[in-house]
């Protein structure tokens, strides 16, 4: 709407329609051919409704400018249509008999390897070996951490169930259980929650994706 309101202001203060078009292009940096005239009219009606005093010169100028913009749009659409028709009318070239030219040969200039490059290659080979070693170590560590997590999942599930039971409300928001909203905390609650859900010890409801998840101790649907 803002664009249209600017335009109306432009129409009111300009002295003639040429000035309006000039202002559209220079001040508003707009393409006069792409102005949505329906939106513009709607905005104008809104504008008229806010007026306490009615100046007939303004609607008259507005109608003139709108008509000119409409005319410009028609012209360009007609021109495009004409061009499209012309393009369709192009008789396809007869090319089946044209043999393709054969390209002259291309020599690919290659250069010799420099001795510095030989040295760099060796350094890369060493780095490569190092990387391989590092990868193995990293992988090992990751596994170790994962296993550690697995170990106390039962304990965490029990703790979470106790926490859920401690609430008197029949529905508890997931965010309440998480407390401080950090990635670690979320996962720390979410994983045991999945276990409880799987064991059918709790039920959940989420209206829309990414919305709050509500946890119930009794099946809310049955109720």
């Amino acid at each position: 709407m803002i664009k249209e309101q600017e335009l109306i202001k432009n129409i009111i203060i300009s002295s003639d329609w040429e000035e309006v078009i000039t202002n559209i292009v220079i001040d508003e940096n707009m393409d006069p051919w792409s102005i949505d005239i329906i939106k513009l009219t709607d905005a104008f009606v809104t504008y008229l409704n806010t007026l306490k005093f009615f100046d007939f010169r303004i609607p008259a100028r507005f109608i003139l400018v709108a008509a000119i913009l409409l005319r410009m749009k028609c012209d360009i659409l007609l021109e495009e249509e004409k061009e499209r028709r012309e393009e369709k009318e192009i008789t396809p070239l007869e090319i089946s008999h044209i043999k393709s030219l054969e390209a002259p040969i291309k020599r690919v200039p290659k250069r010799k390897v420099k001795i510095t490059e030989l040295v760099q290659a060796l350094q890369k080979a060493f780095a490569f070996k190092e990387k391989k070693k590092m990868k193995k170590i990293k992988l090992k560590r990751t596994f170790e951490t994962l296993i550690k997590y697995e170990e106390d999942i039962e304990k965490r599930t029990d703790n979470l169930m106790k926490k859920i039971n401690s609430y008197t409300d029949e529905k508890i928001a997931f965010s309440t259980l998480v407390g401080v909203w950090t990635r670690k905390n979320i996962i720390y609650v979410f994983l045991p929650l999945l276990h409880l859900l799987n064991a059918k010890k709790i039920f959940y409801l989420q209206e829309r994706f990414f919305d709050e998840i509500f946890i119930f101790t009794k099946n809310p649907v049955v109720k």
């Binding site: 192009i90 070239l93 090319i95 043999k99 393709s100 054969e102 002259p104 040969i105 690919v108 200039p109």
Partner: protein
Amino acid sequence: MNKLALLEACLFTAEEPCSIKQLSRILKTSEEEIKWLLNDLKELYANEERGIKLSNIGGYKLVVKDEYLEKVSRLTSHADMSRGVLRVLSIISYYEPIKQSEIVKVIGNRTYEYIKELERRGFIKTEKKSRTKIITTTPNFEKYFGVKKQIIKKVIKSAKSDDKPGPEIHNKGDEISRRGQS
């Protein structure tokens, strides 16, 4: 360090034709001197005992002399232009001046990129006319193929009178490729 030798090494190694500006940067000398050196090199290659020459199409580079092209072509597997680009260039050379839209009609949308490449390499020039481009070949086109435009056109036309079916557009061994033997 010999300047003429370094110039030769540059032109021998360069993948793309070199500009005088570029050469003057590498040789650390004036563009004026580069022009002199290029001239010396040209004279050096003029000797009939030499199989290469200095080419100046879109820049300077060393190329095999025309008369030896055919004989050495089997030593490299690379063509200098993709088949699509060559096909468009053939159509242009046959019909020029020709509208870009007419080529698009038969070749499809890749025409635009082919034409851009041909223009970049200086084989064609385009002139905007209302909404399309009018395309013609340039003198570089003749220079590159080493034959006059009229002869190229004749070659293509004579293919028509043979009345061969179309699909072998890209077959090897048409007359132009044999120019090396003439």
